[in-house]
């Protein structure tokens, strides 16, 4: 199953990096919002340290959903989705592959936005790179996994673009809340400890529970 998931992932990533439609749109969106932030508050004040995590993860959640939205919609032309479902790839592998591909896209957006944010707002986010990487990986997986599941659910809806965020954002709030807290702590240059560790546990638990649920239930969403 992992091999098939890998195939789906490689296919999606290759497709996206050839066309770069969704990725370019998401990147442009993210950069525009990054600039918009500077109008929402005084960009030179010290206050911004306290809301860094919040700003960044709202940004990544929004551009993440933009990316995820395309994940199944991409397969609608030429009935590709029906063919994928009819193929020997199980639905769970399809989900896993697509979620991995979306993880790559979201991480790409983050890889661009984090340094830009650091530069523009004079906050060094990379004091503890290993912690930052961990937070990014865990949270991005949460966004891409739940996003992919719900994208599969809403792919046939008339108001797909509207309905997906309405469902996804409330569901990923636990992960986002954790990521915001941890990013704030990490941006200050101290490793998370004490009360902050509950957020790490929350993130890990969130990922495990939803990965299991999603893999178990994916057949129901797509097949029959």
């Amino acid at each position: 199953m992992l091999r098939q998931a890998w195939l789906v992932c490689v296919k999606d990533v290759r497709m996206e990096f050839r066309g770069k439609e969704a990725l370019n749109a998401a990147l442009a969106f993210a950069l525009v919002v990054l600039i918009l932030f500077s109008f929402a508050f005084d960009p030179t004040s010290e206050q911004i340290r306290e809301i860094t995590g919040g700003l960044l993860w709202i940004l990544f959640a929004f551009s993440g959903v933009l990316l995820v939205n395309r994940s199944f919609a991409r397969e609608q032309s030429n009935d590709c989705l029906d063919i994928l479902i009819a193929s020997r790839v199980p639905a769970s592998a399809l989900l896993l592959g697509k979620a991995m591909a979306n993880l790559v896209f979201i991480l790409t957006v983050e890889a661009v936005c984090l340094p830009v944010f650091s530069l523009l707002y004079n906050i060094n986010l990379f004091l503890l790179p290993q912690w930052l990487l961990l937070v990014c990986l865990l949270t991005s997986w949460a966004i891409s996994l739940l996003g992919t599941v719900f994208a599969a659910m809403t792919v046939n809806l008339r108001l797909r673009e509207l309905m997906l965020p309405v469902i996804v954002y409330p569901m990923i709030i636990p992960a986002l809340a954790g990521a915001m807290q941890l990013t704030n702590v990490v941006a200050l240059g101290k490793p998370p400890e004490g009360d902050d560790l509950i957020w790490v546990r929350l993130l890990v638990g969130f990922d495990i529970i939803f990965t299991a649920l999603a893999l178990g239930l994916m057949d129901t969403i797509l097949v029959d």
């Binding site: 659910m153 046939n156 309405v166 409330p170 649920l213 129901t220």
Partner: protein, 228 residues
Amino acid sequence: MSDKILLTVGLASAAFLVRNLYQMFMVLPDEAAQGAIYRIMYFHIPSWFSCFTCFFASGLASGYAIWKKNFRGDSLAVAATEVGLAFTAIGLATGMIWAKIIWGIWWTWDARLTWAFITALIYAGYLMMRSMIDDPGERMRVTGVLSIFAFTSVVITYKAIDWWRTQHPGAILSFRTGGGNTDPAMEAMIYQNWFALLLLTVVLVAVRFRMEESRREIEGLRRAVYAG
């Protein structure tokens, strides 16, 4: 369930609720620290418990519906979710009124309140999603999965007072604290009112369930009429 049973349960619930109101106001004294306002808890806590029960039932029914491809399970899930949302509204409203007196503010963003709000949003999204999917089979599968996913948020709401330091009061019921926090007579009242509300919940869910069944029947008939 037949009309007669439903009516009986409904009347029993009404009688029990009236009896509880009498007990609350005439028999039980004011609470030492909070005064009269604490009586809101007799509705606040049982409402939330009924709400959690409803959402749990919705998750179970959804699982059953998906597993057996049974549309009755789907109807039960939507009925339970909707009644659960009504109780969510009651829980939020009563909580806010209580908070206005005790904390001086209507709302605060602590973990418990925030997650209760998120849970309400998710289940509202569930109902919205239902109205957007036309195919009954797809609706059952998609919203069923959503209901199961959504239940994690209920669990977080329930455990929030243990996991974070919240402004919302911690556990007071003895099955969580080990006893000694709450006067037994007052605690008993909470359970009694929960029981009364649960009876009411059963009636409401049953009524809503029937409506959903006949709605699906209408859908099917319409399809048959316009196809033929």
